[in-house]
Protein backbone atom coordinates (compact mmCIF):
# COMPACT_ATOMS: atom_id res chain seq x y z
CA UNK A 1 0.00 0.00 0.00
CA UNK A 2 2.67 2.41 1.06
CA UNK A 3 4.93 1.37 -1.81
CA UNK A 4 2.13 2.08 -4.22
CA UNK A 5 1.88 5.59 -2.80
CA UNK A 6 5.55 6.24 -3.40
CA UNK A 7 5.41 4.89 -6.94
CA UNK A 8 2.44 7.16 -7.53
CA UNK A 9 4.36 10.09 -6.11
CA UNK A 10 7.23 9.51 -8.50
CA UNK A 11 4.81 9.28 -11.41
CA UNK A 12 3.08 12.53 -10.47
CA UNK A 13 6.45 14.24 -10.14
CA UNK A 14 7.44 13.05 -13.61
CA UNK A 15 4.18 14.37 -14.99
CA UNK A 16 4.71 17.76 -13.40
CA UNK A 17 8.18 17.88 -14.94
CA UNK A 18 6.64 17.48 -18.38
CA UNK A 19 4.18 20.34 -17.76
CA UNK A 20 6.92 22.56 -16.35
CA UNK A 21 9.16 21.89 -19.34
CA UNK A 22 6.28 22.98 -21.55
CA UNK A 23 6.06 26.18 -19.54
CA UNK A 24 9.76 26.87 -19.99
CA UNK A 25 9.50 26.39 -23.75
CA UNK A 26 6.54 28.76 -23.86
CA UNK A 27 8.36 31.37 -21.78
CA UNK A 28 11.31 31.35 -24.16
CA UNK A 29 8.99 31.59 -27.13
CA UNK A 30 7.19 34.73 -25.93
CA UNK A 31 10.24 36.61 -24.70
CA UNK A 32 11.98 35.97 -28.02
CA UNK A 33 14.83 34.36 -26.17
CA UNK A 34 16.18 32.65 -29.27
CA UNK A 35 19.87 32.98 -30.00
CA UNK A 36 19.44 35.03 -33.17
CA UNK A 37 17.50 37.77 -31.48
CA UNK A 38 20.06 38.06 -28.75
CA UNK A 39 22.96 38.74 -31.10
CA UNK A 40 20.84 41.37 -32.81
CA UNK A 41 20.30 43.10 -29.50
CA UNK A 42 24.00 43.09 -28.75
CA UNK A 43 24.93 44.27 -32.23
CA UNK A 44 22.60 47.24 -32.19
CA UNK A 45 23.56 48.10 -28.64
CA UNK A 46 26.86 49.68 -29.65
CA UNK A 47 25.62 53.01 -31.10
CA UNK A 48 24.17 53.85 -27.73
CA UNK A 49 27.47 55.18 -26.46
CA UNK A 50 28.41 56.48 -29.89
CA UNK A 51 27.65 59.95 -31.09
CA UNK A 52 24.39 61.68 -30.44
CA UNK A 53 22.61 63.20 -33.42
CA UNK A 54 20.56 66.30 -32.78
CA UNK A 55 18.39 67.95 -35.41
CA UNK A 56 17.28 71.54 -34.79
CA UNK A 57 14.19 72.69 -36.66
CA UNK A 58 12.03 75.76 -36.58
CA UNK A 59 12.30 79.53 -36.40
CA UNK A 60 14.77 82.23 -35.42
CA UNK A 61 15.08 80.97 -31.85
CA UNK A 62 16.48 77.76 -33.22
CA UNK A 63 18.72 79.76 -35.55
CA UNK A 64 20.03 81.83 -32.67
CA UNK A 65 19.01 85.29 -33.85
CA UNK A 66 19.72 87.86 -31.15
CA UNK A 67 22.84 86.12 -29.92
CA UNK A 68 25.92 87.99 -31.13
CA UNK A 69 27.80 84.69 -31.31
CA UNK A 70 25.04 83.27 -33.49
CA UNK A 71 24.44 80.20 -31.37
CA UNK A 72 20.85 79.15 -30.75
CA UNK A 73 19.61 77.04 -27.85
CA UNK A 74 20.44 73.89 -29.85
CA UNK A 75 24.14 74.68 -30.17
CA UNK A 76 24.39 75.79 -26.56
CA UNK A 77 22.59 72.66 -25.35
CA UNK A 78 24.81 70.42 -27.47
CA UNK A 79 27.87 72.16 -26.06
CA UNK A 80 26.91 71.15 -22.55
CA UNK A 81 26.63 67.44 -23.19
CA UNK A 82 29.68 65.46 -22.17
CA UNK A 83 29.84 62.37 -24.25
CA UNK A 84 32.63 60.08 -25.41
CA UNK A 85 31.29 59.83 -28.96
CA UNK A 86 30.59 63.53 -29.26
CA UNK A 87 27.47 65.27 -30.52
CA UNK A 88 26.54 65.96 -34.11
CA UNK A 89 24.16 68.84 -34.60
CA UNK A 90 22.29 69.68 -37.78
CA UNK A 91 20.58 73.06 -37.70
CA UNK A 92 17.86 73.42 -40.33
CA UNK A 93 16.12 76.37 -38.74
CA UNK A 94 15.04 79.39 -40.77
CA UNK A 95 14.42 82.94 -39.55
CA UNK A 96 10.76 83.89 -39.55
CA UNK A 97 9.53 80.34 -40.14
CA UNK A 98 5.89 79.69 -39.25
CA UNK A 99 4.33 76.30 -38.57
CA UNK A 100 2.96 76.48 -42.09
CA UNK A 101 6.49 76.95 -43.35
CA UNK A 102 7.88 74.11 -41.27
CA UNK A 103 5.14 71.83 -42.53
CA UNK A 104 6.05 72.76 -46.09
CA UNK A 105 9.73 72.20 -45.34
CA UNK A 106 8.96 68.76 -43.92
CA UNK A 107 6.65 67.64 -46.69
CA UNK A 108 9.10 68.97 -49.28
CA UNK A 109 11.57 66.37 -48.10
CA UNK A 110 14.50 68.70 -47.44
CA UNK A 111 14.56 67.68 -43.76
CA UNK A 112 14.19 63.95 -44.32
CA UNK A 113 17.75 62.94 -43.65
CA UNK A 114 18.25 65.19 -40.65
CA UNK A 115 15.02 64.00 -39.03
CA UNK A 116 15.34 60.31 -39.85
CA UNK A 117 18.84 59.96 -38.42
CA UNK A 118 18.30 62.14 -35.35
CA UNK A 119 18.26 60.82 -31.79
CA UNK A 120 16.85 64.09 -30.55
CA UNK A 121 14.83 66.67 -32.44
CA UNK A 122 14.69 70.19 -31.04
CA UNK A 123 11.73 72.13 -32.29
CA UNK A 124 10.79 75.76 -31.95
CA UNK A 125 7.78 76.97 -33.91
CA UNK A 126 4.61 78.95 -33.41
CA UNK A 127 5.93 82.32 -32.32
CA UNK A 128 5.81 83.70 -35.83
CA UNK A 129 2.25 82.43 -36.33
CA UNK A 130 1.21 84.46 -33.34
CA UNK A 131 2.87 87.54 -34.74
CA UNK A 132 0.21 87.40 -37.41
CA UNK A 133 -2.06 88.94 -34.79
CA UNK A 134 0.06 92.09 -34.78
CA UNK A 135 -0.20 92.37 -38.54
CA UNK A 136 -3.94 93.01 -38.55
CA UNK A 137 -5.88 96.06 -37.41
CA UNK A 138 -6.77 96.18 -33.73
CA UNK A 139 -10.48 95.80 -34.47
CA UNK A 140 -9.93 92.61 -36.46
CA UNK A 141 -7.74 90.86 -33.87
CA UNK A 142 -10.58 89.16 -32.01
CA UNK A 143 -11.75 87.74 -35.30
CA UNK A 144 -8.34 86.70 -36.66
CA UNK A 145 -6.90 85.12 -33.52
CA UNK A 146 -9.13 82.01 -33.38
CA UNK A 147 -8.41 81.31 -37.04
CA UNK A 148 -4.68 81.55 -36.49
CA UNK A 149 -4.99 79.30 -33.49
CA UNK A 150 -6.91 76.64 -35.39
CA UNK A 151 -4.39 76.78 -38.22
CA UNK A 152 -1.52 76.51 -35.75
CA UNK A 153 -3.04 73.48 -34.10
CA UNK A 154 -3.66 71.72 -37.42
CA UNK A 155 -0.14 72.53 -38.64
CA UNK A 156 1.46 71.24 -35.45
CA UNK A 157 -0.47 67.98 -35.68
CA UNK A 158 0.72 67.60 -39.24
CA UNK A 159 4.29 68.36 -38.20
CA UNK A 160 4.21 65.73 -35.47
CA UNK A 161 2.67 63.17 -37.80
CA UNK A 162 5.38 63.77 -40.41
CA UNK A 163 8.17 63.74 -37.84
CA UNK A 164 6.90 60.47 -36.44
CA UNK A 165 6.58 58.94 -39.86
CA UNK A 166 10.19 59.79 -40.58
CA UNK A 167 11.45 58.88 -37.15
CA UNK A 168 9.20 57.07 -34.68
CA UNK A 169 11.94 56.64 -32.05
CA UNK A 170 13.64 60.01 -31.61
CA UNK A 171 12.99 62.21 -28.62
CA UNK A 172 11.36 65.47 -29.56
CA UNK A 173 11.61 68.63 -27.53
CA UNK A 174 9.16 71.37 -28.28
CA UNK A 175 10.10 74.81 -27.04
CA UNK A 176 7.33 76.89 -25.52
CA UNK A 177 6.60 80.55 -26.14
CA UNK A 178 7.60 83.60 -24.13
CA UNK A 179 6.54 87.19 -24.01
CA UNK A 180 9.49 89.33 -25.17
CA UNK A 181 7.98 92.34 -23.40
CA UNK A 182 7.95 90.55 -20.08
CA UNK A 183 5.47 92.27 -17.82
CA UNK A 184 5.62 95.51 -19.80
CA UNK A 185 3.47 94.60 -22.81
CA UNK A 186 -0.28 94.74 -23.25
CA UNK A 187 -2.40 92.41 -21.18
CA UNK A 188 -4.24 91.24 -24.27
CA UNK A 189 -1.07 90.18 -26.03
CA UNK A 190 0.15 88.41 -22.92
CA UNK A 191 -3.08 86.47 -22.76
CA UNK A 192 -2.66 85.30 -26.35
CA UNK A 193 0.87 84.19 -25.68
CA UNK A 194 -0.18 82.25 -22.60
CA UNK A 195 -3.00 80.55 -24.45
CA UNK A 196 -0.76 79.70 -27.36
CA UNK A 197 1.87 78.35 -24.98
CA UNK A 198 -0.55 76.07 -23.21
CA UNK A 199 -1.79 74.83 -26.56
CA UNK A 200 1.78 73.94 -27.46
CA UNK A 201 2.08 72.06 -24.17
CA UNK A 202 -1.06 70.05 -24.79
CA UNK A 203 0.00 69.24 -28.36
CA UNK A 204 3.33 67.97 -27.09
CA UNK A 205 1.58 65.89 -24.45
CA UNK A 206 -0.14 63.83 -27.14
CA UNK A 207 3.11 62.27 -28.25
CA UNK A 208 4.75 60.16 -25.55
CA UNK A 209 8.24 60.78 -26.91
CA UNK A 210 7.87 64.55 -26.83
CA UNK A 211 8.89 66.83 -24.05
CA UNK A 212 7.49 70.34 -23.84
CA UNK A 213 9.95 72.85 -22.50
CA UNK A 214 8.35 75.97 -21.01
CA UNK A 215 10.29 79.23 -21.31
CA UNK A 216 7.55 81.74 -20.59
CA UNK A 217 8.50 81.86 -16.94
CA UNK A 218 12.19 82.41 -17.76
CA UNK A 219 11.55 85.70 -19.54
CA UNK A 220 8.61 86.93 -17.52
CA UNK A 221 10.67 89.08 -15.17
CA UNK A 222 13.91 89.10 -17.11
CA UNK A 223 12.89 90.73 -20.35
CA UNK A 224 15.25 93.60 -19.63
CA UNK A 225 18.34 91.43 -19.17
CA UNK A 226 17.69 88.42 -21.36
CA UNK A 227 16.02 89.91 -24.43
CA UNK A 228 18.27 91.24 -27.19
CA UNK A 229 18.26 94.83 -28.44
CA UNK A 230 15.72 93.94 -31.14
CA UNK A 231 13.14 93.54 -28.38
CA UNK A 232 12.05 90.19 -29.73
CA UNK A 233 14.75 87.53 -29.53
CA UNK A 234 16.69 86.34 -26.50
CA UNK A 235 20.28 87.49 -26.20
CA UNK A 236 23.21 85.24 -25.33
CA UNK A 237 22.21 85.03 -21.68
CA UNK A 238 18.64 84.28 -22.66
CA UNK A 239 19.66 81.44 -24.95
CA UNK A 240 22.01 80.13 -22.28
CA UNK A 241 19.13 80.12 -19.79
CA UNK A 242 17.02 78.06 -22.22
CA UNK A 243 19.89 75.67 -22.88
CA UNK A 244 20.52 75.32 -19.14
CA UNK A 245 16.93 74.35 -18.58
CA UNK A 246 17.04 71.84 -21.42
CA UNK A 247 20.24 70.38 -20.08
CA UNK A 248 18.77 70.20 -16.61
CA UNK A 249 15.87 68.13 -17.81
CA UNK A 250 17.34 66.07 -20.66
CA UNK A 251 21.11 66.17 -20.25
CA UNK A 252 21.41 63.13 -18.02
CA UNK A 253 19.62 61.01 -20.58
CA UNK A 254 22.39 61.48 -23.10
CA UNK A 255 25.38 61.30 -20.84
CA UNK A 256 26.36 57.67 -20.33
Amino acid sequence: MRNGLFHGLILVSLLSLIILTGGVVGAFAVTGGSGGDETKAVATATPRTGDLKIAVLGDSLAVGTGNAQGQGFGELFAGKIRRAGGVTLTNKAVNGLTTQGLLAQLSGGSLNEAVATADLILLSAGGNDLRGVQAVEASKVAETYPKLKTAYEANMKGIFALLRRLNPKADIMLLGLYNPSGTAGSAEEDRYIREWDSLAASLAAQDPGTLYMPVYDLFRYRAKTWIAADGLHPNKDGYTAIADRMYGSMGSKYEP
Binding site: I10, I19, V24, P168
Partner: protein, 336 residues
Protein backbone atom coordinates in the same frame (compact mmCIF):
# COMPACT_ATOMS: atom_id res chain seq x y z
CA UNK B 1 16.13 -0.89 -12.34
CA UNK B 2 18.88 -0.56 -9.79
CA UNK B 3 18.71 3.22 -10.18
CA UNK B 4 14.95 3.22 -9.85
CA UNK B 5 15.11 1.38 -6.54
CA UNK B 6 17.70 3.86 -5.32
CA UNK B 7 15.41 6.74 -6.32
CA UNK B 8 12.52 4.95 -4.70
CA UNK B 9 14.57 4.63 -1.56
CA UNK B 10 15.37 8.35 -1.61
CA UNK B 11 11.75 9.33 -2.18
CA UNK B 12 10.74 7.14 0.74
CA UNK B 13 13.28 8.84 2.96
CA UNK B 14 12.13 12.25 1.81
CA UNK B 15 8.51 11.49 2.66
CA UNK B 16 9.16 9.67 5.90
CA UNK B 17 11.49 12.35 7.20
CA UNK B 18 8.50 14.70 7.06
CA UNK B 19 10.55 17.44 5.48
CA UNK B 20 8.12 17.49 2.58
CA UNK B 21 5.26 18.03 5.02
CA UNK B 22 7.04 20.97 6.58
CA UNK B 23 7.43 22.51 3.14
CA UNK B 24 3.76 21.93 2.37
CA UNK B 25 2.71 23.39 5.71
CA UNK B 26 4.72 26.54 5.08
CA UNK B 27 3.21 26.78 1.61
CA UNK B 28 -0.35 26.57 2.92
CA UNK B 29 0.27 29.25 5.54
CA UNK B 30 2.04 31.63 3.20
CA UNK B 31 -0.37 31.28 0.31
CA UNK B 32 -3.30 31.87 2.65
CA UNK B 33 -1.66 34.98 4.05
CA UNK B 34 -0.90 36.27 0.58
CA UNK B 35 -4.42 35.58 -0.63
CA UNK B 36 -5.88 37.34 2.38
CA UNK B 37 -3.59 40.31 1.75
CA UNK B 38 -4.66 40.52 -1.86
CA UNK B 39 -8.31 40.27 -0.93
CA UNK B 40 -7.93 42.93 1.74
CA UNK B 41 -6.14 45.31 -0.62
CA UNK B 42 -8.81 44.88 -3.28
CA UNK B 43 -11.48 45.64 -0.71
CA UNK B 44 -9.61 48.70 0.51
CA UNK B 45 -9.20 50.13 -2.97
CA UNK B 46 -12.86 49.49 -3.64
CA UNK B 47 -13.77 51.44 -0.49
CA UNK B 48 -11.39 54.18 -1.53
CA UNK B 49 -13.14 54.42 -4.86
CA UNK B 50 -16.53 54.64 -3.21
CA UNK B 51 -15.27 57.39 -0.95
CA UNK B 52 -13.81 59.33 -3.86
CA UNK B 53 -16.48 59.05 -6.48
CA UNK B 54 -19.58 58.11 -4.56
CA UNK B 55 -21.43 54.80 -4.22
CA UNK B 56 -23.17 54.99 -7.56
CA UNK B 57 -20.12 55.72 -9.70
CA UNK B 58 -17.88 53.14 -8.05
CA UNK B 59 -20.59 50.51 -8.05
CA UNK B 60 -20.95 50.93 -11.76
CA UNK B 61 -17.58 49.55 -12.67
CA UNK B 62 -18.93 48.34 -15.99
CA UNK B 63 -19.43 51.88 -17.15
CA UNK B 64 -15.98 52.84 -15.90
CA UNK B 65 -14.38 49.93 -17.70
CA UNK B 66 -16.26 50.73 -20.89
CA UNK B 67 -14.99 54.29 -20.68
CA UNK B 68 -11.43 53.07 -20.25
CA UNK B 69 -11.78 50.80 -23.27
CA UNK B 70 -13.14 53.61 -25.42
CA UNK B 71 -10.29 55.78 -24.30
CA UNK B 72 -7.69 53.15 -25.14
CA UNK B 73 -9.23 52.58 -28.56
CA UNK B 74 -9.13 56.27 -29.28
CA UNK B 75 -5.49 56.32 -28.38
CA UNK B 76 -4.90 53.49 -30.82
CA UNK B 77 -6.22 55.67 -33.64
CA UNK B 78 -4.05 58.57 -32.63
CA UNK B 79 -1.32 59.08 -35.25
CA UNK B 80 1.04 60.41 -32.61
CA UNK B 81 1.18 57.17 -30.67
CA UNK B 82 4.19 55.26 -31.98
CA UNK B 83 3.59 51.80 -33.44
CA UNK B 84 5.65 50.22 -30.71
CA UNK B 85 3.26 51.42 -28.03
CA UNK B 86 0.16 50.33 -29.86
CA UNK B 87 0.43 46.62 -29.21
CA UNK B 88 0.46 47.09 -25.46
CA UNK B 89 -2.49 49.48 -25.65
CA UNK B 90 -4.34 46.90 -27.72
CA UNK B 91 -3.70 44.14 -25.20
CA UNK B 92 -4.80 46.39 -22.34
CA UNK B 93 -8.04 47.10 -24.17
CA UNK B 94 -8.42 43.36 -24.79
CA UNK B 95 -7.93 42.66 -21.08
CA UNK B 96 -10.58 45.16 -20.03
CA UNK B 97 -12.97 43.88 -22.68
CA UNK B 98 -12.49 40.37 -21.33
CA UNK B 99 -13.32 41.45 -17.80
CA UNK B 100 -16.37 43.26 -19.09
CA UNK B 101 -17.54 40.27 -21.13
CA UNK B 102 -17.04 37.88 -18.23
CA UNK B 103 -18.62 40.28 -15.77
CA UNK B 104 -15.51 40.46 -13.62
CA UNK B 105 -14.64 43.68 -11.87
CA UNK B 106 -11.03 44.31 -12.95
CA UNK B 107 -10.23 45.56 -9.47
CA UNK B 108 -11.06 42.19 -7.99
CA UNK B 109 -8.61 39.35 -8.17
CA UNK B 110 -9.16 35.96 -9.73
CA UNK B 111 -7.61 32.60 -8.95
CA UNK B 112 -5.63 32.76 -12.18
CA UNK B 113 -4.25 36.21 -11.54
CA UNK B 114 -3.42 35.32 -7.95
CA UNK B 115 -1.60 32.13 -8.90
CA UNK B 116 0.68 33.95 -11.32
CA UNK B 117 1.21 36.85 -8.94
CA UNK B 118 2.12 34.50 -6.15
CA UNK B 119 4.80 32.73 -8.13
CA UNK B 120 6.18 36.06 -9.36
CA UNK B 121 6.63 37.09 -5.73
CA UNK B 122 7.89 33.74 -4.55
CA UNK B 123 10.32 32.85 -7.33
CA UNK B 124 13.30 34.78 -6.02
CA UNK B 125 13.29 33.87 -2.37
CA UNK B 126 10.49 31.68 -1.16
CA UNK B 127 10.56 28.88 -3.74
CA UNK B 128 14.38 28.64 -3.56
CA UNK B 129 14.09 28.44 0.24
CA UNK B 130 11.74 25.50 -0.06
CA UNK B 131 14.20 23.77 -2.35
CA UNK B 132 17.01 24.42 0.10
CA UNK B 133 14.94 22.86 2.87
CA UNK B 134 14.45 19.79 0.69
CA UNK B 135 18.01 19.45 -0.55
CA UNK B 136 19.92 20.73 2.45
CA UNK B 137 20.03 17.47 4.34
CA UNK B 138 20.07 14.95 1.52
CA UNK B 139 23.74 14.15 2.07
CA UNK B 140 24.75 16.05 5.19
CA UNK B 141 21.85 14.46 7.05
CA UNK B 142 23.22 11.04 6.24
CA UNK B 143 26.70 12.09 7.27
CA UNK B 144 25.48 13.49 10.55
CA UNK B 145 23.21 10.56 11.32
CA UNK B 146 25.77 7.96 10.35
CA UNK B 147 23.46 6.46 7.75
CA UNK B 148 26.06 7.13 5.15
CA UNK B 149 28.11 4.09 6.23
CA UNK B 150 25.12 1.84 5.74
CA UNK B 151 24.47 3.36 2.37
CA UNK B 152 28.01 3.11 1.13
CA UNK B 153 28.61 -0.48 2.29
CA UNK B 154 25.90 -1.63 -0.09
CA UNK B 155 27.15 -3.09 -3.35
CA UNK B 156 26.34 0.13 -5.23
CA UNK B 157 28.87 2.53 -6.69
CA UNK B 158 29.04 5.83 -4.93
CA UNK B 159 28.28 7.87 -8.02
CA UNK B 160 25.05 5.94 -8.45
CA UNK B 161 24.00 6.96 -4.96
CA UNK B 162 24.57 10.60 -5.78
CA UNK B 163 22.84 10.30 -9.16
CA UNK B 164 19.80 8.90 -7.40
CA UNK B 165 19.87 11.83 -4.99
CA UNK B 166 20.09 14.36 -7.80
CA UNK B 167 17.26 12.71 -9.71
CA UNK B 168 15.09 12.43 -6.62
CA UNK B 169 15.63 16.10 -5.95
CA UNK B 170 14.59 16.86 -9.53
CA UNK B 171 11.38 14.88 -9.02
CA UNK B 172 10.63 16.48 -5.68
CA UNK B 173 11.18 19.96 -7.07
CA UNK B 174 8.59 19.25 -9.74
CA UNK B 175 6.24 17.87 -7.13
CA UNK B 176 6.62 20.85 -4.81
CA UNK B 177 5.93 23.29 -7.65
CA UNK B 178 2.92 21.30 -8.77
CA UNK B 179 1.61 21.35 -5.21
CA UNK B 180 2.35 25.07 -4.90
CA UNK B 181 0.31 25.69 -8.03
CA UNK B 182 -2.54 23.46 -6.88
CA UNK B 183 -2.59 24.97 -3.41
CA UNK B 184 -2.63 28.54 -4.69
CA UNK B 185 -5.39 27.72 -7.16
CA UNK B 186 -7.40 26.05 -4.42
CA UNK B 187 -6.91 28.75 -1.80
CA UNK B 188 -7.39 31.56 -4.30
CA UNK B 189 -10.57 29.95 -5.52
CA UNK B 190 -11.90 29.77 -1.99
CA UNK B 191 -11.06 33.45 -1.44
CA UNK B 192 -11.90 35.00 -4.81
CA UNK B 193 -14.42 32.53 -6.22
CA UNK B 194 -13.38 33.25 -9.77
CA UNK B 195 -11.14 31.40 -12.18
CA UNK B 196 -10.33 33.85 -14.92
CA UNK B 197 -8.14 31.29 -16.65
CA UNK B 198 -8.72 32.48 -20.18
CA UNK B 199 -8.13 36.15 -19.33
CA UNK B 200 -5.58 37.75 -21.64
CA UNK B 201 -2.24 38.58 -20.05
CA UNK B 202 0.37 40.97 -21.36
CA UNK B 203 3.70 39.40 -22.21
CA UNK B 204 6.44 39.30 -24.83
CA UNK B 205 8.60 42.20 -23.72
CA UNK B 206 12.09 42.25 -25.14
CA UNK B 207 15.17 44.27 -24.37
CA UNK B 208 16.92 45.98 -27.23
CA UNK B 209 19.71 48.51 -26.72
CA UNK B 210 19.06 48.44 -23.02
CA UNK B 211 15.51 49.58 -23.51
CA UNK B 212 12.31 47.74 -22.99
CA UNK B 213 10.89 46.96 -26.40
CA UNK B 214 7.13 46.62 -26.25
CA UNK B 215 6.58 46.20 -29.98
CA UNK B 216 6.35 42.41 -29.75
CA UNK B 217 3.92 42.49 -26.87
CA UNK B 218 1.02 40.12 -27.24
CA UNK B 219 -1.54 38.42 -25.12
CA UNK B 220 -1.55 34.88 -23.85
CA UNK B 221 -4.21 33.32 -21.67
CA UNK B 222 -3.84 33.43 -17.91
CA UNK B 223 -3.46 29.63 -17.87
CA UNK B 224 -0.59 29.72 -20.37
CA UNK B 225 0.99 32.49 -18.39
CA UNK B 226 0.75 30.53 -15.15
CA UNK B 227 2.29 27.43 -16.74
CA UNK B 228 5.14 29.53 -18.14
CA UNK B 229 5.74 31.20 -14.78
CA UNK B 230 5.87 27.89 -12.98
CA UNK B 231 8.14 26.49 -15.66
CA UNK B 232 10.58 29.31 -14.99
CA UNK B 233 10.21 28.77 -11.25
CA UNK B 234 11.16 25.18 -11.89
CA UNK B 235 14.36 26.22 -13.64
CA UNK B 236 15.20 28.35 -10.62
CA UNK B 237 14.38 25.43 -8.32
CA UNK B 238 16.59 23.00 -10.22
CA UNK B 239 19.49 25.40 -10.08
CA UNK B 240 19.14 26.33 -6.42
CA UNK B 241 18.45 22.67 -5.55
CA UNK B 242 21.64 21.50 -7.26
CA UNK B 243 23.65 24.14 -5.42
CA UNK B 244 22.05 23.24 -2.11
CA UNK B 245 22.82 19.57 -2.71
CA UNK B 246 26.43 20.46 -3.46
CA UNK B 247 26.70 22.42 -0.22
CA UNK B 248 25.06 19.51 1.55
CA UNK B 249 27.74 17.21 0.18
CA UNK B 250 30.55 19.52 1.25
CA UNK B 251 29.26 20.65 4.64
CA UNK B 252 28.73 18.05 7.32
CA UNK B 253 25.87 19.58 9.23
CA UNK B 254 22.43 20.14 7.79
CA UNK B 255 21.86 23.43 9.54
CA UNK B 256 25.16 24.77 8.25
CA UNK B 257 24.21 23.69 4.72
CA UNK B 258 20.86 25.42 4.92
CA UNK B 259 22.46 28.50 6.50
CA UNK B 260 25.05 28.81 3.76
CA UNK B 261 22.47 28.62 1.01
CA UNK B 262 20.09 30.99 2.74
CA UNK B 263 22.71 33.66 3.16
CA UNK B 264 23.67 33.28 -0.49
CA UNK B 265 20.02 33.81 -1.46
CA UNK B 266 19.54 36.84 0.72
CA UNK B 267 22.83 38.31 -0.47
CA UNK B 268 21.38 38.06 -3.98
CA UNK B 269 18.60 40.49 -3.23
CA UNK B 270 21.18 43.04 -2.07
CA UNK B 271 23.56 42.42 -4.93
CA UNK B 272 20.76 42.98 -7.43
CA UNK B 273 21.03 46.70 -6.66
CA UNK B 274 24.51 46.85 -8.15
CA UNK B 275 23.76 44.83 -11.23
CA UNK B 276 23.49 47.76 -13.64
CA UNK B 277 26.86 49.23 -12.72
CA UNK B 278 28.86 46.25 -11.62
CA UNK B 279 29.07 43.99 -14.65
CA UNK B 280 30.50 41.01 -12.80
CA UNK B 281 27.51 40.83 -10.46
CA UNK B 282 25.25 39.64 -13.26
CA UNK B 283 27.14 36.34 -13.44
CA UNK B 284 26.14 35.42 -9.89
CA UNK B 285 23.34 32.89 -9.67
CA UNK B 286 21.50 34.70 -6.90
CA UNK B 287 20.78 37.88 -8.88
CA UNK B 288 19.27 35.92 -11.76
CA UNK B 289 16.41 34.29 -9.93
CA UNK B 290 13.51 36.61 -10.80
CA UNK B 291 12.92 35.00 -14.17
CA UNK B 292 9.20 35.77 -14.22
CA UNK B 293 10.04 39.48 -14.48
CA UNK B 294 11.11 38.83 -18.06
CA UNK B 295 7.60 37.58 -18.79
CA UNK B 296 5.78 40.47 -17.17
CA UNK B 297 8.18 43.14 -18.42
CA UNK B 298 8.47 44.50 -14.89
CA UNK B 299 12.24 44.59 -14.82
CA UNK B 300 14.80 47.33 -15.09
CA UNK B 301 16.02 46.93 -18.65
CA UNK B 302 19.77 46.46 -18.63
CA UNK B 303 21.78 45.89 -21.75
CA UNK B 304 22.70 42.24 -22.19
CA UNK B 305 20.30 40.94 -19.58
CA UNK B 306 17.57 38.72 -20.94
CA UNK B 307 15.78 35.53 -20.08
CA UNK B 308 18.27 33.48 -22.06
CA UNK B 309 21.18 35.17 -20.29
CA UNK B 310 19.78 34.54 -16.83
CA UNK B 311 18.93 30.94 -17.65
CA UNK B 312 22.41 30.41 -19.09
CA UNK B 313 23.96 31.78 -15.90
CA UNK B 314 21.78 29.51 -13.78
CA UNK B 315 22.61 26.59 -16.05
CA UNK B 316 26.35 27.18 -15.70
CA UNK B 317 26.09 27.30 -11.91
CA UNK B 318 23.97 24.15 -11.90
CA UNK B 319 26.48 22.30 -14.03
CA UNK B 320 29.31 23.44 -11.81
CA UNK B 321 27.43 22.38 -8.68
CA UNK B 322 26.72 18.92 -10.09
CA UNK B 323 30.35 18.38 -11.09
CA UNK B 324 31.70 19.56 -7.73
CA UNK B 325 29.20 17.48 -5.79
CA UNK B 326 30.24 14.35 -7.67
CA UNK B 327 33.96 15.00 -7.27
CA UNK B 328 33.64 15.59 -3.55
CA UNK B 329 31.21 12.76 -2.92
CA UNK B 330 33.11 10.12 -4.84
CA UNK B 331 36.59 10.93 -3.56
CA UNK B 332 35.96 11.92 0.02
CA UNK B 333 36.89 9.74 2.99
CA UNK B 334 33.93 8.87 5.09
CA UNK B 335 35.13 8.80 8.65
CA UNK B 336 31.95 9.67 10.47
Amino acid sequence: MKLYSLIFNEVTKMVLKKRLYVVLGILVVLISLFAYGEHYTAQKSQEQLVKQSGEAAAGDWRKQTQLQITDLKRRMDNPFVPEAGKSSIRVRAEQLQYYLDKDINPLESTAGRFTSRFIAQAIALFIPLMMILLAGDMVSGELAGGNIKMLLTRPVERWRVLVSKHLTLLLMEGLVLLLTALLSVLIAWIVFRRGGWDAPVLTGFQVHNGQLDASHVRSVTQLQYVVMSYGLAWLVSVSVGALALMVSVIVRSTSAAIGVMMSALIAGSFLAFFISDWKLARYLFNVNLSLTDYLSGSFQPIDGLSLIFSVAVLGAWTLGAVVVSFLVFVYRDVTA
